[in-house]
């Protein structure tokens, strides 16, 4: 029996994790955060939508196609920062959090990041410690009504496959959560290079 057939026959929910790549998926991400942070935790709008959403990558988790969890990743020079991780109330007993964080870590690792960093709410410290995160220092700080500690986790980057400036250029052009699969720009290579704008530069030169 094929895997998809087994999945179709089982009544277990199908969980999918992906990078948000369309405006619909981005909207789903924002609405889940509004539901949890504004609706449940009473966070003001301007604290939740803090201006950093458009410099970040957003990860989406679906249960049977329904948006269920999201996470934001921001990219600093030497580490990736996992933040704004939420699971919608009705999906909280599904054991989704650890696989979701693991997917995020794997995503950062494949991009060549050696450290995943996060601010953990005090109540979640034991969970992150079990997952291999450790505290950066003894500092405890607070914002938006919660106490936090900074945690970091070392990621085992594969020197041979991590993206560098010497990686195949067409690999760097691929969708970032599917660097091992051909992307749409590789299909465009069939059209050849007609350099349609070359004459613009010639005109400017004359």
């Amino acid at each position: 029996m094929t895997e998809s057939k087994a999945a179709a026959m089982s009544n277990r929910p199908v969980v999918t994790i992906k990078l948000a790549t369309t405006s619909d998926e981005l909207m789903q991400c924002y609405m889940l955060r509004a539901a949890v942070f504004m609706g449940e935790q009473h966070c003001p709008y301007w604290e939740e939508f803090d201006g950093n959403d458009y410099t970040a990558s957003h990860l989406m988790l679906y249960v049977d196609g329904e948006p269920a969890a999201s996470m934001r990743v921001r990219w600093f020079a030497s580490f990736a920062k996992l933040e704004r991780a939420i699971i919608l109330k009705r999906y909280r007993s599904f054991g989704l959090f650890i696989p979701f964080v693991n997917w995020a870590r794997e995503f950062c690792r494949k991009k060549g990041y050696r450290k995943a960093y996060l601010h953990a709410q005090h109540r979640l410290w034991p969970i992150f410690e079990r997952m291999g995160f450790h505290k950066v220092d003894d500092q405890v700080f607070h914002f938006s009504d919660h106490e936090y500690g900074a945690f970091v986790c070392d990621l085992d980057v594969d020197e041979r496959t991590m993206p560098t400036v010497f990686t195949d250029p067409m690999v760097l052009n691929r969708p970032e959560d599917r660097l091992d699969l051909p992307g749409i720009l590789e299909d465009s290579m069939d059209r050849g290079a007609s350099n349609p704008h070359a004459e613009w530069t010639e005109r400017r030169a004359n």
Binding site: V14, T16, K18, T22, D24, E25, M27, Q28, Y30, M31, L32, A34, A35, V36, M38, G39, E40, H42, P44, Y45, W46, E48, F49, M60, Y62, D64, G65, E66, P67, L88, K89, R90
Partner: protein, 188 residues
Amino acid sequence: MSTTALSIGGETVTTKLAMRMEDSLQAFAVRAACFIGELDVPYSEEFDGHDFGATHIIAYVGDEPVGTLRVRWFQSFAMPERLAVIQRFRGHNIGQLLLERARKLAESRGCNMLYAQVLPADVKYWEKQGWRRLVAEDASAGDKRIVAVVKAVDPSKPLPAVEAPESVVLRREAQLDATGLPLGTASN
């Protein structure tokens, strides 16, 4: 008629129509907080495909978006729906402020009837605000999950009695395009 507070905690209460993408996101975020976060409505029911054919009104306390109302436009009536006010700002008649803004907007468009679908438990409240049942209570059969209520846009020109059967006016609007629904794309 109830009076509407014009300021809460020293902050001015204002309403505006969503004109830019950021405005719409604020309207959607308030609905997500109330309907998905508080009432546990699934995302795909809350964002049902009608948001981009509707007008969104947003209420602010200072610069914080705290309430929203969606108005859909039909040939013979305007339909306010998806009324939401963030929990800690309730009790200040922000809902009425939004509905009044919708009424004025309908008036400016030459519309003469407002139509809404409300929960049976809320009918008394709506009646106090000048709405009436579309179909008299004794004329409808059995328990209803939703009740259609109407209100004249211009209070000096009361609505004529409407004789549409409830089964017609309470039906769900056909989805414009089922494949265009904003469901998660993961299963596609």
